[in-house]
């Protein structure tokens, strides 16, 4: 068994973070920093007739005030990387000039000597608005209604049809077709740390450094270079500690470009730290689909086809991936089932709201919810157990790679194994008996299941808007420490730990000898970033292969040091030895002499001592030192000991699992209480079970938020009703049920470590299980579906109506 990989290694990030010693953007203090505050639109839709900044400009402490007119010609539009046919892309500028399209849109910016002066001056800017009718409801917007952009003639950003098979024929020839309108409500990602930007221009060097709380430092650098119009190699993006992203920081925001540009104008550092109110208004939202499901089935429970007609609420303009999110929904509409015909018809719709974009799961929770709700509807329609319908339609393990009617090849899977394990953990049979007895007593117990599959490790570059690979450099320093530079950008996932685990095992060194560096574009080679449950499967694989390359080079140097041929050298537990000697001793039946442990990271005494080469083998640290001194390395070989690898995956990975929720609904009040929560997830090979548990738990909590509490609500005028955490309910610790977690482990054939990814499993797998359980509890009242968030009042109304 490996020393570190597969073990519950404690996060090496945590000691600094729990002691308050981490550095987030706001912890970085530069002398003479100026502070920025934004004036944002108070209307969802309005013309700006005039802006008067004269009073604000003269307010105490104010250094500069900028409006759209000042920057329109000098800072490029906020980019959208999604390429869809006939996509309408509004010209979205970092500050509005004469037209605002959502509440929270930046209109003007005040730069002042402190945050207070900047904020106070905002109130002194006079704007003359002419309010226009706003369009809020996505279906109404699709039909017509007030137009977000007059020039387009409608609110349709794009239309797209995806899927394979003859859906018409499939539905027509089915014994039954179930149909349901469903709503995936808008959610706010609510990272614990909001966004934040610090920009510093160095006029002498003509270099700009931007510290930003982002998930994609390199992609951000490229986009900001384009927006600001400066050479990319003069721009440095540093991502310090990031307090969560959940997709909301997989983006390029107006504020990031604007701060960079302002610093260039004023020659001083400028800082903006997002408030929670701004975070809910003007950081991307997630989900936001209203769709119509039709699923065909035969009387024996076989699924014959699925059609999903959906209106995607894009908001008023496109952020980086806004229009692309529903396409991920389309890809995953086969769920974990054999469905011969699938069709998604998506209408992307402009509304006078903040843009939607990737939020933990990004289109896939919607797909899983569609499929799992549909399967429950089929079970209800046929009077079958939901487990039986699921089991009947699973592809068998032998059918992998499994081709779906959405054009994907699922890499590996054993869906029934995960299902069986979860059923055993929950004691499903007894639960159903308990439910039956409880119902006889008038109690409302519900059991919900989700047998999900998700698409992870995004992904092959062919399928990605801006590269799907990931990079790693691994080097061993002269004094023996191992340094990993990863292009991934961990922001809570714990890859400083898990990548170190991989390296420590592969190089036979102590975990503490490995340092993982990320999030600085001037230190780390180009990378793609952390999102789409990709960092370990793609970035970790890059680390793994870079280590292989490094070991190859080290083997040659070790052979040279031991005066033998590289083919005779074996590497084990951090030490190179001659294979011949080992073979001889093995042949004689004698035990090879154990080598003394070499403490890692301990510098050899003296400035540059000669490497040890006593014939009994050399450590990888000896080799590193020799490689750097380079007086005695193989002729013609490259000094130093480092290797870089850019890993391009050949496919996505497809983790899966079964979640089971058991709830009891209070007959009198509609209150929902959890009785059990069981999750069996299969994310392939596990590097660190504790990190996997943490990812699963966090995801389930956010899924619980969507199922029962969270909803971004705009009123008819487009005012944000849930604009603070006093109104927008995220689950608190006391609202979260105990979770019984376990795993099955089906390795992925897509990468050498067999890892799949787990960051989004919870939000994808758990929501349908929770909703299914509540629906099941209410099934005695004829309920087959309920829209999220399911509130006690809704249940009370159903129950009291029946009474």
């Amino acid at each position: 068994m490996a020393k570190y990989v597969g073990q519950r290694v404690k996060r090496t990030e945590d000691p600094r973070l729990i002691q308050g010693l981490g550095h987030y953007v706001d912890d970085i203090k530069l002398p003479d920093t100026l502070h920025v505050a934004f004036l944002r639109s108070m209307y969802a839709h309005a013309k700006i007739k005039s802006i008067d900044t004269s009073e604000a400009s003269h307010a105490p402490g104010v250094v500069a005030v900028y409006t759209g007119k000042d920057v329109a010609a000098r800072v490029g539009p906020v980019p959208c990387a999604a390429a869809l046919p006939d996509l309408k892309v509004p010209d979205y500028r970092v500050l509005a000039t004469n037209h605002v399209v959502f509440v929270g849109q930046p209109i003007a910016v005040v730069v002042a000597t402190d945050r207070y002066a900047a904020r106070d001056a905002i109130d002194l800017i006079m704007i003359d608005y002419e309010e226009l009718p706003a369009v809020i409801d996505v279906e109404q917007a699709a039909k017509g209604g007030p137009l977000v952009y007059e020039e387009y003639g409608d609110n349709i950003a794009y239309k797209l049809t995806a899927g394979e098979g003859d859906i018409e024929a499939a539905l027509k020839s089915s014994d039954r077709v179930v149909s349901q309108r469903i709503v995936h409500q808008r959610l706010a990602p609510i990272a614990m740390e909001g966004r934040g930007v610090l920009a510093r221009y160095y006029p002498g060097e003509q270099e700009l450094t931007i510290w930003s709380s982002t998930q994609i430092p390199h992609l951000l650098r490229t986009q900001l270079a384009i927006m600001i119009g400066m050479p990319e190699n003069k721009l440095r993006v540093i991502t310090p500690e990031v307090g969560g992203g959940f997709g909301s920081k997989l983006n390029v925001y107006a504020e990031e470009a604007l701060l960079g540009w302002i610093s260039m104008q004023l020659g001083k550092p400028v800082k903006w730290i997002e408030s929670r109110r701004e975070n809910i208004q003007a950081t991307i939202h997630g989900r936001g689909q209203v769709g119509y499901i039709e699923m065909g089935c035969n009387n024996d429970g076989t699924i014959t086809g699925l059609r999903y007609n959906v209106f995607a609420d894009l908001g008023a303009y496109h952020q980086l991936l806004t229009p692309a999110i529903p396409t991920l929904t389309g890809l995953m509409l086969s769920g974990s089932y054999k469905i011969p015909a699938i069709q998604m018809n998506v209408t992307g719709v402009f509304t006078n709201k903040m843009a939607t974009d990737a939020y933990r799961g990004a289109g896939r929770p919607e797909a899983t919810y569609v499929v799992e709700r549909a399967v429950d509807l089929v079970a209800a329609e046929l009077g079958m157990d939901t487990v039986d319908v699921r089991r009947k339609n699973f592809p068998a393990p032998s059918e992998f790679p499994f081709k779906t009617a959405t054009g994907l090849f699922y890499d590996s899977g054993d869906y029934e194994a995960a299902l069986n394990k979860a059923l055993a953990m929950a004691d499903y049979k007894s639960l159903r008996e308990e439910q039956k007895k409880a119902r006889e007593q008038g109690r409302l117990i519900g059991i919900g299941l989700s047998t999900y599959v998700e698409i992870c490790a995004l992904g092959p570059s062919q399928a990605m808007p801006a590269g799907g690979w990931e990079s790693a450099t691994v080097r061993i320093e002269p004094t023996g420490g191992v340094t990993i530079l990863t292009g991934a950008s961990p922001h809570g996932q714990g890859q400083e730990t898990s990548f170190a685990q991989i390296a420590a095992d592969e190089l036979g060194v102590d975990l503490n000898a490995v340092t993982v560096i990320h999030g600085d574009t001037s230190i780390v080679q180009y990378g793609i970033g952390t999102f789409g449950s990709r960092a370990t499967a793609v970035g970790g694989t890059a680390v793994f292969i870079a280590i292989e390359k490094l070991k190859e080079k080290a083997t040659n140097i070790a052979a040279h040091m031991m005066k033998t041929d590289a083919s005779n050298v074996v590497f084990k537990e951090g030490r190179f030895t001659k294979q011949a000697a080992k073979a001889a001793s093995a042949g004689a039946g004698a035990k090879p002499e154990p080598e003394p442990d070499v403490p890692v990271g301990e510098a050899p005494a003296g400035a540059m001592p000669e490497p040890e080469a006593d014939g009994k083998g050399v450590t990888i640290q000896d080799v590193a030192l020799a490689a750097h001194i380079a007086r005695d390395i193989p002729p013609g070989s490259e000094p130093g000991l480092s290797a870089t690898y850019f890993f391009e995956p050949t496919n996505f990975t497809f983790p899966f699992g079964t979640h089971i929720a058991v709830v009891e609904v209070d007959r009198e009040t509609g209150d929902i209480k959890f009785m059990r929560y069981v999750a069996v997830d299969d994310c392939g090979k596990v590097i660190n079970p504790m990190l996997v548990d943490g990812q699963v738990q966090g995801g389930i909590v956010q899924a619980l938020g969507q199922a029962m509490y969270e909803e971004i609500v705009y009123d008819d005028q487009g005012q944000l009703v849930t604009g603070t955490l006093m109104d927008y309910a995220i689950p608190k610790a006391a609202m979260v049920p105990w979770m019984d977690l376990d795993r099955t482990e089906t390795p992925s054939p897509v990468n050498p470590m067999g890892v799949k990814g787990v960051g989004e499993a919870g939000t994808i797998g758990a929501t349908p299980a929770i909703v299914g359980a509540i629906v099941d509890a209410l099934s005695p009242f004829g309920v087959r579906h309920l829209d999220m968030p399911i509130k006690p009042e809704t249940l009370w109304r159903i129950i009291s109506k029946a009474n």
Binding site: Y116, M726, K732, W796
Partner: protein, 288 residues
């Protein structure tokens, strides 16, 4: 989330505080634990020109027994009340109520006096205080006076405290023998404030007959109120199921019930009845 400018004053004695408040009766707000006022200031919903921070005044945080009363200093934190073993014995409604306020951080900093003087219509303390028929001791430059809890809560965010008056102490008659108390609440999942919160204190005689009852309801209307019709309906009864069912039908008599995104008027009215019944049942079962 940055407040407007204000002057900050930090008196060391209550006399000094009262003196400062008298100088700024209209412009100043008293800062106690700050867990309602500061968020309101950050959202610029409140923009006081002067803050008088009374947290540095010694001896405003205490729980004392004196003259058949429990006397609580206005700066006593929720946590101090929640964790008082003595209160659990002699007036368990107070710790039970305190334990359901906000979260640990709020309970460690927030104060009973601050909460009461804020008069949030969904605050927890007002329900308990009104059920217990407490007396509020207010102090100003012109001296001290006591205000009955029933008169103290005037409207949403409005109390009977006059300009320049500071709430200094809360006095509660120590419950007599054979009493039972309970506080039950439906927390709003975002804010933790009460969608409905019901505080009950009652006494029973040796036959189980209810001799007196106080029922305070928060979260339902624009201010906390005593459900007097419920109190009358259960007083003199054996607190049997039928009496309770009939009594709690009056839980929202005479008040205009709120409706919002989380709970409509009809649902909140229903919750008020259910939670009033449950709180009375819990209190009754404890009155032994």
């Amino acid at each position: 989330m940055i407040p407007a400018q204000f002057d900050y004053l930090a008196p060391k004695t209550i006399d000094e505080a009262v003196g400062l408040f008298a100088q700024h009766p209209d412009e100043a707000k008293i800062l106690a634990g700050g867990h309602s006022l500061i968020p309101a200031m950050k959202l610029r919903l409140a923009m006081p020109q002067v803050l008088i921070d009374i947290s540095r005044i010694k001896d405003l945080a205490y729980i004392r027994e004196e003259g058949g009363q429990i006397r609580i200093g206005a700066m006593t934190t929720h946590y101090q009340l929640e964790s008082s073993d003595r209160l659990r014995e002699i007036c368990p409604l107070l710790p039970e109520c305190a334990a359901q306020i906000g979260d640990v951080q709020v309970r460690n900093k927030g104060t009973i006096g601050g909460s009461l003087a804020h008069s949030d219509p969904a605050g927890d303390w007002p329900a308990a205080i009104i059920a217990l028929d407490a007396e509020m001791v207010a102090v100003s430059a012109s001296g001290e006076r006591t205000i009955n809890a029933g008169d103290f809560f005037v409207d949403m965010l409005t109390t009977a405290l006059g300009p320049g008056e500071i709430l200094r102490e809360i006095r509660i008659t120590t419950p007599s023998e054979r009493f039972g108390q309970s506080y039950l609440k439906v927390p709003q999942p975002a804010s933790g404030f009460a969608v409905v919160g019901v505080a009950v204190t009652l006494t029973r005689d040796s036959n189980g007959v209810c001799k007196s009852a106080g029922v305070g309801i928060t979260g339902v209307a624009s201010k906390v109120y005593r459900a007097t019709a419920v109190e009358q309906a259960i007083s003199g009864s054996g607190l049997d199921e039928q009496t309770l069912a009939a009594a709690v039908a009056h839980a929202t008599d005479g008040v205009s019930v709120n409706g919002d995104l989380y709970a409509s008027e009809a649902y909140r009215r229903h919750l008020a009845q259910v939670y009033t019944r449950r709180a009375i049942e819990a209190a009754a079962s404890r009155a032994k």
